[in-house]
Symmetry: C2
Subunit: 228 residues, 2 copies
DNA sequence: GCAAATATAATAGTAATACTATCAAATTTG
DNA sequence: CAAATTTGATAGTATTACTATTATATTTGC
């Protein structure tokens, strides 16, 4: 096995690959090195040719695993949502207070993990960066409807529904739980991006974990029942 | 003049074009037809070659106006923010009540204009669709820092600051006005996209103008001063 | 431990794209 | 009306995204 990270069988949609990369050494190398390369070059300048060189393999071999670089990126994003699903389950079980449960979910989804604390989180950290910087490029396409039919967004949707249910437990009357969750998930990515590149568009100076603080406050204020 | 839409000199950043397209007939054709073509094909499949054919011109001519299709899209997005700036000013002047002012701004930024009502809004409608579907692709790139230095995002930033000030007028103590505005602007695009392609991620069944209703409620609840 | 099946590397090649260059014809401007 | 500029027509380049072929490894079944 190439690394401990690949020991768990990933429930990633089979339409995203031609041959399951998680089952072979070259495949795992492709995944690990593509994460690094996409972070380094950005998705536009990332090519299978360059990936082939860094893993000392060939374009032809990569094409036997992935139909296109578009599908590879979708695979990586699904891999990220796999990690998040698992951690969401793990970190909220046995917590009785629905408010604390929701708080933990918001923390998981809006903050950036610290890769230095635990080495196991390195890939998750790199995947989160990819989600922040590149995800919209493969979702906002003319292919989205077909890919949705193939079930490519199921993992993401399940995370949304899980957190929406948590909101429902706290405030059963709130009308837009799904919209609130997606706007938090997508918005926090955006805010992290802005904080790095267009800081005047954020209010970053206020606090360190400002994105999380912003959303913790926003969500609890929004769902509170304000009938006096 | 090609159309009434081009009679106003646009304050669009000069680094976005090699030759100002709004000053010539071919240039205006490029703008008008590129809006249609990008909506039809999506930005990935849109090419200068195809645009050249539809305006009965050549690639070379288009390249004399725009360095790349990336810059053309940035130009169009700036054009959109020009329209919004103007309307934001126009529709909120002489309104004294800061809450109503903010409501109007939220309406302008979160709802989709109806192109059937007024023909003048057709281009703005098409531009909004481009902003919804394509904007993130040209902003979330490795070029963002250089383009920001060139002032390419100034128009957008000014809209954000204007609305952030309105929030400040309603609630001077709210700590994250800029983040709230950007999360509304980017979030409403996302919600409109989801409503069309991944409807289960939204709560679209509830109301027609659900995106606007969602944000009107969210923003006023979030900025309210809840010291009892 | 060996034959059969499969995966990979090496190489070549294609169509499309994102540009650049050249120059004559058309158009605008002074 | 002459000079300057803009455009159209054409050609060409480097890169990319992907396909095809075949010899050589490597794995797997027995």
């Amino acid at each position: 096995m190439y690394s401990i990270f690949h020991q768990i069988k990933l429930p990633i949609n089979e339409k995203l690959f031609l041959k399951d990369p998680s089952t072979t050494t070259v495949g795992q190398k492709m995944l690990d090195e593509s994460i690094l390369l996409i972070n380094e070059l950005g998705f536009e300048k990332f090519t299978f040719k360059k990936l082939a060189v860094t893993i000392s393999s060939t374009e032809a071999t990569i094409y036997r695993y992935f139909e296109s670089k578009h599908k590879l990126l979708l695979y990586l994003i699904n891999w990220y949502w796999c990690c998040i699903s698992t951690r969401l389950l793990f970190e909220t079980t046995n917590i009785i207070d629905p408010k604390i449960k929701l708080q933990k979910a918001i923390h998981l989804l809006t903050s950036i993990p610290n890769p230095k604390k635990e080495n196991l989180l390195m890939n998750e950290f790199l995947l989160k960066k990819i989600v922040i910087n590149e995800a919209s490029k493969v979702i906002q396409t003319k292919e989205v409807d077909n890919e949705n039919k193939d079930g490519v967004f199921t993992l993401y949707k399940n995370v949304v529904f899980t957190v929406a249910n948590m909101i429902n437990e706290v405030s059963p009357d709130y009308r837009f739980p799904n919209m609130l969750v997606t706007s938090m998930i997508e918005g926090s990515s955006q805010q992290h991006f802005f904080a790095e590149h267009l800081p005047r568009l954020t209010n970053a100076e206020v606090e360190k974990d400002f994105v999380e603080v912003f959303y913790q406050e926003l969500i609890f204020k929004t769902i509170q029942n304000d009938t006096i």
